[in-house]
């Protein structure tokens, strides 16, 4: 009995009238946990009952505590007939189970009924007394923290990142039980809600056990999904990244700890081979590997594998990272092998994180994805039969235990896909996959399982236990000793980046942080696919691909030119209606073509915007009765390290037709115009050649940015690079039929957002850094009928495209009062609920920014790194600039560099890594006054650091005070506390002081009076508002004031207008947190800006 759960029912308010005669209600409450139920007294004739109950005590073991939700049911007492249920509240008590999270749940909860929605509120207080349990064989995993956030949470540091954890639990869906025919819809919905709540609890506990096995204490990037498979059951699956996290209780406490440079150096086992050419040079391109495998039953399985860029096949064997390493020095190989082995001990070296501690990500190969089509109806599991006759109808099944001898289980399906992903990553010379996610699309009995991620090479030190613990801090603290710099006087010590620095640092490759991740991880001579490689435009030492696609967020240290933008590829493909295997076969035949086309669209749109990299790429393929839909969203950026993209050139196939030629040239002109316009819009002024400005501290201003690159001694390959389009690396579109024509047209239909708006689907918009605190999270849902009688792929594409574009337009209009603002984390979800019906759900957050401060803020330390840099230190300014081995190509000093410097030293990037992260682009604008700036900055940073320390000390009492205040029974206060919600992992202008636990809620709403509730729109509008309200109430009850990393994972809407009925299921999750406004903390005098290096054209912020 390791736990005692205590519940007190305080009061209710605004209850519905249950007795028509008196216009009043005789309410009482049932409190249920597990199999124990308590009741309050009946509070007669009141809509605002004051029960003030005793403490109901449940003595339970912690396994039960983790699995079971607390169920609170409010009823109306009726002397003569059955008591009427008013509604329910489910409270997940998991947050009370870890020591650092909430201590009490107390507040007003909306009373929710699946038929009537919210009906009044109830005030509840919940506490848990946990007793220490020394049983080593326990089944519970209390104490493991869960985070939806896909980065290391702000007030923690990662000691070790262990890796991938996954689990899956299956049960039959109550909606499809025989009993559903005789019970009420309400009973059925409640059975489902209860079951899913139970299954999530169990799943979380099991994942926690796995984490404990790995010696971790937390799961980051936890993503739990439901597959409503209908007849064949209900699958709840989750993936996450196990970590060992340390709470940053006080910055000053850990700073001086453990860090002498010598100790650090001793721990570095390997020397680096300094010659960059000897290892890991090769291209990485938009690398995509896909596999389509279709196995409708265990007897039948077909696999095809393709990669769509140029449809080159990806070899499945050979070419692991080992091959890349073999040309490198022996140490290097050793290191690689060590890394590899560390990773390969794990079944799947996957990470669900999208943002990483600086230095974690060494190289990025490209996107890897795998899809598989499965038939659901083939799974007749004997376990179900056993369960059907069981009276304990919601006893859960662990698929593994029941079906260990059954190969075609959901587990096996996913294992298969993950294996694919792993081998794709290997083919790219990568030993890990980051930004990993999984999804399904189900239509009738066909299910598409998808997984995707970004192949990457990681720094081993984060992955190992023991030796390297605390490496972040070590680096932080030994830097000052290493480079003595009189920053206040504006003196700068240049330190030549060389092999010793890198060896001292023990970094695998001495690649500068601003571009290192772009360098190809695979072998140049043995490339997995054809790609154009050039020397990195930043460090000139290593090869980079011409285009880079990834599923992760833009690394903080990345050097970006201009702003980013949301890029979407949209596609419909008709498919014949078919049954079972025929259906699955036709789907898996279509998939490669869809992937290819989606990819082509993305590439074209990227080039049309003059950009060269995609981040946060998410491709959804949705299956419907008679079509497949593909929607890819990503954020395009211009990475300074990659070559300038060529334009798009159109080539006609019928050359002799005069008018046709004219038409072609007209189109070409339009495309060129669009590219030019986009470059202006997104402020893409590619950097000048660094050589040009060497030795001239005051260079000519920005007209130069358009100059052709004249000479480059470091690489022959880039000598002729030209910013105009139509040169050798231009992308050629051949127009050979009307289809292609349509494609080109559709390229041009994407309307840029109205002025004052930017959009992206990543956490942060590259190029905007002066966020103001106003945020507006929203969900928009649209269902449209594709009413074509004879739909063709073209008309469908157009319809789909219009639907998305209109939706975006509508969002911009709605949020016009927030201008200037940026829509961040724009997340589209497509569903095909019925024939001809397309449902699109968008969740995003609009964040305002200050246009006027743009220029100034560019020069200040970055917000993002600030956000991450919960660490602070005594560092002074350092400018360890690189005097590269080739004196001619040595890089100019730029003030922005120092901003980066300050920021990165916060986050603990070793100086040598930072050494080359010079932002050329900003040089031109700022060089004039750089010395002044340095002085200013030095003060700012020093002041900032001092203040941060003090304010942190202040912060915790503040938060505690807040908590105390909150835990006072809130029965009397009339105003509702504000709870912010955001899909991002942070709040602009605020500091997260405490994580209170994960919010994971599942709701069903049903109506049999659709018209009366305002039709489908009225119904769904109210439901979404209710879901928000319930999330907010739970967060407030935990003592929090915000939800971060909020995501709506599922929104299944079904209607039957003829019967006047509709039903909707929504699943949401996020992390409940307490934040404190930075203004309240009086932290930094200047608003902290975002991306690490602010690109050129920052002056444009003011003028545009």
């Amino acid at each position: 009995m390791p736990g005692k759960l205590k519940v007190k029912i305080v009061a209710g308010r605004h209850l519905p009238v249950m007795d028509r005669a008196s216009d009043l209600t005789d309410a009482f409450v049932e409190v249920k946990f597990g199999n124990t139920t308590f009741k309050t007294d009946v509070y007669p004739k009141s809509l605002n009952p004051q029960w003030n109950s005793e403490w109901f005590k449940f003595e339970v073991d912690d396994e039960e505590l983790q699995d079971e939700p607390l169920q609170i049911t409010v009823l109306d007492h009726d002397t003569y007939s059955a008591n009427d249920a008013i509604g329910k509240v489910y409270i997940d008590i998991d947050p009370l189970l870890y020591s650092e999270a909430a201590t009490v749940i107390s507040g007003w909860f909306p009373i929710y009924d699946t038929i009537h929605g919210i009906r009044g509120e109830i005030n509840v207080v919940v506490k848990v007394d946990l007793f220490n349990d020394l049983n080593r064989f326990r089944q519970s995993s209390c104490g493991v923290k869960f985070f939806c956030t896909t980065s290391i949470p702000k007030c923690y540091r990662a000691v070790v990142i262990h890796g991938f954890v996954e689990e899956l639990v299956v049960n039959e869906d109550p909606e499809y039980q025989w009993i559903d025919r005789i019970r009420t819809p309400r009973a059925s919905n409640e059975a489902r809600q209860r079951l899913i709540s139970l299954m999530s609890g169990e799943l979380q506990r099991k994942i926690g056990l796995k984490v404990l096995e790995m010696r971790g204490n937390a799961v980051v990037g936890y993503l739990q999904c439901f597959d409503l498979e209908g007849e064949s059951g209900l699958v709840v699956r989750a993936i996450g990244t196990a970590c060992t996290l340390d709470k940053l209780s006080n910055t000053s406490a850990f700073l001086p700890a453990c860090n002498s440079p010598s100790k650090e150096m001793k721990e570095i086992p390997f020397n680096e081979d300094p010659n960059p050419n000897t290892y890991s040079s090769g291209p990485s391109t938009p690398l995509k590997n896909q596999t389509y495998s279709f196995s409708p039953s265990k007897s039948y399985s077909r696999q095809s594998s393709s990669s769509d860029t140029d449809l080159s096949l990806t070899p499945k064997t050979g070419m692991g990272s080992g091959s890349a390493g073999k040309e490198g020095g022996p140490f290097k190989t050793l290191l690689r092998q060590q890394t590899q082995s560390a990773l390969e001990q794990r079944e799947f070296p996957f990470f669900t994180l999208t943002t990483f501690p600086p230095g974690f990500l060494l190289h990025v190969g490209g996107v890897v994805s795998a899809r598989s089509v499965k038939l659901l109806d083939r799974i007749h599991n004997p376990a179900f039969v056993g369960i059907m006759g069981n009276t304990r109808s919601y006893k859960l099944l662990d698929w593994n235990s029941f079906n260990s001898d059954e190969p075609e289980t959901r587990d096996a399906w996913w294992a298969e896909i993950r294996q694919e992903i792993k081998s794709h990553a290997k083919a790219l010379g990568c030993h890990a996959v980051v930004g990993y996610s999984e999804s399904t699309s189900i239509c009738e009995e066909v299910c598409i399982l998808s997984a995707s991620g970004t192949a990457a090479v990681l720094n081993p030190r984060f992955l190992q236990d023991g030796t390297m613990e605390g490496c972040l801090e070590q680096r932080l603290s030994w830097q000052p000793g290493f480079f003595s710099i009189g920053s206040e006087k504006g003196e700068v010590d240049f330190f030549p980046q060389s092999q010793d620095s890198s060896s001292l640092l023990g970094i695998e490759e001495a690649s500068p942080p601003g571009c290192g991740f772009c360098h190809i991880p695979y072998d140049e001579l043995n490339m997995p696919f054809p790609a154009h490689l050039t020397y990195c435009y930043n460090c000139r030492k290593q090869k980079v691909p011409d285009v880079l696609f990834t599923t992760i967020d833009l690394p903080v240290e990345a050097i970006v030119v201009g702003k980013g933008c949301l890029i979407q590829a949209r596609l419909c493909r008709l498919k014949k209606k078919a049954q079972a295997e025929a259906n699955a076969t036709s789907i898996s035949n279509l998939l490669p073509f869809m992937e290819y086309e989606v990819h082509t669209q993305l590439m074209n749109k990227l080039k049309l915007r003059g950009m060269n990299a995609l981040f946060g790429l998410r491709i959804q393929i949705t299956v419907g009765e008679n079509m497949l839909m593909g929607l890819a969203s990503a954020t395009g950026v211009y990475l300074a390290a990659l070559p300038t993209p060529g334009g798009i050139q159109i080539a006609g196939k019928t050359p002799n037709d005069g008018t046709y030629e004219q038409h072609i040239s007209h189109m070409q002109k339009k495309i060129n115009d669009t590219i030019a316009k986009n470059k202006e819009l997104y402020e893409i002024n590619p950097p000048e050649l660094p050589e040009e400005i060497i030795g001239s501290p005051i260079p000519e201003p920005r007209q130069r940015s358009r100059l052709l690159r004249s000479q480059s001694e470091s690489s022959d390959e880039v000598t002729e690079l030209d910013l105009s389009h139509g040169k050798k690396d231009a992308f050629v579109l051949e127009i050979d039929d009307t289809d292609a024509m349509e494609d080109v047209h559709s390229l041009l239909t994407d309307v840029p957002p109205p002025s004052g708006f930017y959009s992206c689907n990543t956490e942060i918009m590259p190029g905007i850094n002066n966020w103001t605190p106003e945020i507006q999270m929203f969900t928009a849902v649209r269902v449209s009928r594709l009413s074509n009688i004879n739909p063709t792929n073209q008309t469908l594409n157009k319809n789909f495209n219009d639907l998305c574009e209109n939706l975006l337009k509508s969002l911009y209009f709605k949020l016009r009062s927030m201008v200037p603002c940026c829509l961040c984390h724009v997340n589209f979800t497509v569903a095909l609920p019925e024939d001809e019906l397309v449902q699109i759900a968008v969740t995003a957050v609009a964040i305002t920014y200050d246009k006027n401060q743009a220029l100034q803020a560019n020069k200040a330390p970055t917000e993002k790194s600030q956000q991450r840099a919960s660490t602070d230190n005594e560092e002074q300014l350092q400018f360890p600039l690189e005097l590269s081995s080739d004196p001619l190509s040595s890089q100019p000093f730029s003030p922005a560099k120092e901003a980066l410097e300050g920021a990165s030293s916060h986050t603990g990037i070793p100086a040598a890594q930072r050494a080359t992260s010079v932002d050329y682009s900003s040089f031109a604008d700022r060089c004039n006054s750089w010395i002044e700036l340095i002085k200013l900055k030095a003060q700012t940073i020093r002041r900032g650091s001092i203040k941060t320390t003090t304010s942190l000390e202040k912060a915790s009492p503040l938060a505690e005070g807040y908590l105390r205040h909150r835990s006072v029974p809130s029965g009397t206060n009339s105003t509702v506390s504000v709870v912010k919600m955001t899909p991002l992992s942070f709040l602009p202008g605020a500091k997260i002081t405490k994580y209170l636990g994960i919010i994971n809620m599942f709701f069903i709403r049903e109506t049999t009076s659709l018209r009366e509730e305002g039709g489908v729109s009225g119904f769904l509008h109210a439901f979404i508002a209710e879901v928000f309200a319930m999330v907010r109430a739970h967060v407030a009850a935990l003592g929090g004031n915000a939800v971060v990393s909020y995501i709506m994972k599922q929104c299944v809407f079904m209607e039957n207008p003829n019967k006047n009925q509709a039903q909707c299921l929504i699943n949401v999750s996020g992390d409940a947190v307490i934040f404190v406004r930075e203004s309240e903390l009086e932290v930094l005098p200047a608003p902290p800006p975002a991306a690490a290096a602010q690109p050129a054209g920052s002056a444009g912020d003011v003028t545009t």
Binding site: I118, E121, Q776, M777, S784, S810, K814, V978, I1024, A1025
Partner: protein, 360 residues
């Protein structure tokens, strides 16, 4: 391709003031879209009609869901469904309860019943306020009336607390409730020159001076009713006109004290017999207030018996003020007049009303 379902829900509920105004005015979605188009949103924002329609519908749905809460504004503050910043909540309530004075003028003193509601069509036509808006405003009046009808204490404060209205608006509602309660006749032709503001000011003076709350805060009767005992007492004042001696004395004192003005041209001739007539009228109005039917005629009487004679005598408002001041003060010197306090309480409201009403 048609959108069957189209919703936008923000964590912070978006309130568009322009659309709210259109909704309050009772326009349908189509009308509202047409009006917004005329307002030039399209050109300003470069968007499409479809977007505007979708936006308008979203707002309308929100307002419809909010309306239930607006009926009891404290609930709007407590509810968890919509996260609305406090200043926006205040704006929502204030705009919702704001009313057209022309409409309120029409409805003053009428019973807030279903019958009256049915007549709103005509009122709408007369006042130019949309019928849906008329109905909403009527319902507001009725809701406020029902809510405070039985409550003790100052009417305006009760309303302010229950409906979270700004003080000025709460006072106006108090006036409406006061009129509806006592059913004062305001519709007569000879009262047409009086505006809602005039009546509201009168109601406030009457409540301030006459109601029980004005004397004893823990009074038993609601402020909206005139206290019966007070009205009963007013009969005693008849002594001022019925007792010949007192009348004369009163008349003399009034004239005597106000020599400079009352001796002036306006007073000399026509008011020779005027002061007794006025005096009788003023006292009788009070005396009649015990009968509900006579209460209704209160304002008619004041206009007919006081204002019109004065006007025909070309009194200036200043003249009237002077007269009332002296007339009120005069009985102090009357021997044997025991109702000085009552008299002054009565006359304070009467004077305020008369002065407010004395215009063209």
């Amino acid at each position: 391709m048609s959108s069957d379902l189209d919703v936008f829900v923000g964590n912070t509920t978006l309130i568009d003031e322009e659309v709210y105004r259109l909704w309050l005015d009772g326009h349908s979605v189509a009308e509202a879209v047409a009006r917004r188009l005329r307002g030039g949103v399209l050109e300003r924002e470069g968007t499409s009609v479809a977007v505007l329609q979708s936006d308008t519908r979203d707002h309308y749905r929100t307002f419809q869901m909010l309306e239930r809460l607006l009926h009891a504004p404290p609930r709007l503050l407590q509810q968890l469904l919509f996260q609305i910043p406090p200043e926006r909540q205040a704006l929502l309530v204030q705009r919702y309860y704001a009313f057209d004075e022309a409409l309120a003028r029409e409805l003053l003193g009428k019973k807030l019943s279903k019958g009256t509601k049915k007549e709103l069509d005509e009122v709408s036509a007369r006042t130019g306020v949309g019928i849906r808006s008329c109905r909403r405003q009527f319902d507001n009046f009725k809701r406020v009336f029902k809510a405070v009808e039985e409550l003790r204490g100052p009417l305006a404060e009760n309303i302010q607390q229950l409906f979270l209205l700004p003080p000025a608006l709460a006072r106006d509602y108090a006036a409406i409730v006061f009129f509806a309660n006592s059913r004062f006749e305001t519709g007569k032709r000879r009262l047409q020159f009086l505006s809602f503001g005039d009546f509201a000011a009168c109601a406030q003076s009457m409540m301030a001076h006459w109601s029980q709350g004005a004397l004893a805060p823990e009074a038993a009767e609601p402020d909206g009713d005139l206290p019966k005992s007070f009205l009963q007492d007013l009969k005693e004042l008849k002594v001022l006109v019925s007792d010949k001696d007192l009348l004369d004395q009163h008349k003399r004192d009034t004239s005597g004290m106000g020599v400079p003005v009352l001796g002036g041209p306006g007073f000399g001739g026509s008011l020779g017999g005027g002061v007794p007539a006025l005096s009788r009228a003023l006292v009788n109005v009070g005396g009649k207030l015990t009968h509900a039917r006579d209460v209704r005629d209160f304002f008619v009487d004041l206009v007919e018996k006081v204002i019109e004679p004065c006007r025909s005598d070309k009194w200036s408002p200043g003249d009237l003020r002077l007269f009332l001041t002296h007339y009120t003060a005069a009985p102090r010197n009357l021997p044997g007049f025991r109702h000085q306090a009552l008299w002054e309480r009565y006359m304070a409201a009467i004077s305020a009303c008369l002065l407010r009403m004395y215009h063209d």
